[in-house]
Amino acid sequence: MIITKLEFLDRAQIDRDTLEVWIQEEWLVPSGSATEPVFSEADLARADLIRDLIHDLGVNAEGVGPILSLLDQLHGLRRVLAEVLQSMRQRSVPPEAGRSMGRDPERS
């Protein structure tokens, strides 16, 4: 579902200026246009994370960017790892090979 700027400010519990800064810093990358940005649930969860970093964890403004960047890389790597694991699983038991290997000893 699409979240408008007003809705986003309300649900993320941040003010306009804060949002401007977060977008400028590219901590948040909404879709839509600069004048009428639209947000996703993922953007909202990310805003919650930024708020937690600043308020709950005491991270200062300079620290948020590097943390997000490392997290984005971490998520990228987690996904690559998941994909690699999956294709390795598929490789190690190719369906045809598995069947013929099971049959051959019986036949011979």
Partner: protein, 301 residues
């Protein structure tokens, strides 16, 4: 439920600053977004944040110390963390960054081969979807229409609105989203429709409702009158002796739906002449409607 002081590892006499310090120390370690994939830390963070919610609020803390409330129900509601979205988002997520393994790819073993293949797949991933909003006229929503949306970058997007569309419905235009970062197809454009209310039509499901002003004579004597419908005016027979509130149905003049149309309901509203009318006044003062005519009878005045 564990004792919140124990959870945060502070003394009962701890100052608010101590509580905050203890919470921060634990949150830095346990925040679920800093530990994606670690269920245990997520569970512990729930306890810790719950304990902090209780002890960082002076009023709640006092009531807890006095035994008025216990620590149950302090666990934070199941919050959705960013990591959950990062994990489930389709490839091409705007934030995801895969540069962290580029240096592994240049070798010549099976892992490098797999990674190269993943990279290729990522390159072929479709571009992200773009979201737009379009507000359309009531009648366009009912009858369908072709609209051209002007995009912020100056481009245009042709949107075919199917008949019978509803408020908030989203149209997906394949391939009209942002281009792929690599060689994949473009994403989709998602257009959320909002419908501008009409001056006199309103809609309930597939039925159209309209309040139609009629003259005293049309109501009392009946007759055929022109009524607007979404597809143009039609003639409606008003039966003799109709009244304000009488509702007539125009079958099949409502909103198109699968296998037909809804209906239009016409609710009559008798209107006296807006200017004082001496003839009508003269007639009414000489007119005796009969003892049965008492519209306020039910009110027992």
């Amino acid at each position: 439920m564990k004792d919140p002081y124990e959870v945060l590892g502070v003394a009962r006499t701890a100052s608010p600053e101590d509580v905050q310090k203890a919470y921060r120390r634990l949150a830095k370690k346990l925040h679920p977004d800093l530990n994606p994939g670690n269920r245990e830390s997520e569970e512990r963070f729930k306890e810790v944040s719950g304990a902090n919610d209780l002890l960082s609020d002076p009023d709640k803390r006092k009531r807890f110390d006095n035994g008025e409330i216990d620590a149950s129900g302090t666990e934070r509601q199941q919050q959705r963390y960013y990591k959950d979205y990062a994990a489930e988002a389709a490839a091409g997520h705007p934030y995801e960054n895969r540069s962290g393994y580029a240096d592994f790819v240049d070798t010549d073993d099976i892992f490098a081969e797999l990674l190269r293949r993943q990279e290729q797949q990522a390159r072929r991933a479709p571009g992200p979807d773009l979201h737009y909003r379009l507000s359309i006229e009531f009648l366009d929503a009912v009858n369908g229409a072709a609209k051209r949306l002007t995009l912020p970058d100056g481009g245009t997007l042709d949107v075919t609105i199917p008949p019978g569309i509803q408020e908030g419905q989203i149209l997906r235009l394949r391939g009209k989203g942002a281009p792929s970062k690599g060689e994949g197809n473009a994403g989709d454009a998602l257009v959320e429709l909002s419908i501008v209310p009409h001056r006199f039509f309103s809609r309930q499901g597939d039925d159209i409702h309209i309040e139609l002003p009629v003259t005293l004579a049309e109501a009392a004597l009946g007759g055929r009158i022109k009524v607007p419908t979404p597809t143009g005016p039609v003639l409606l027979t008003v039966p003799k002796g109709s009244n304000t509130g009488s509702t007539l149905r125009l079958k099949g003049k409502g909103v198109p739906r699968r296998g037909g149309h809804g209906d239009e309901f016409v609710k009559l509203k008798v209107m006296l002449p807006t200017e004082p009318n001496p003839e009508l006044e003269a007639f009414l003062s000489n007119w005796t409607p009969g003892a049965d005519y008492d519209p306020r009878r039910d009110m027992q005045l």
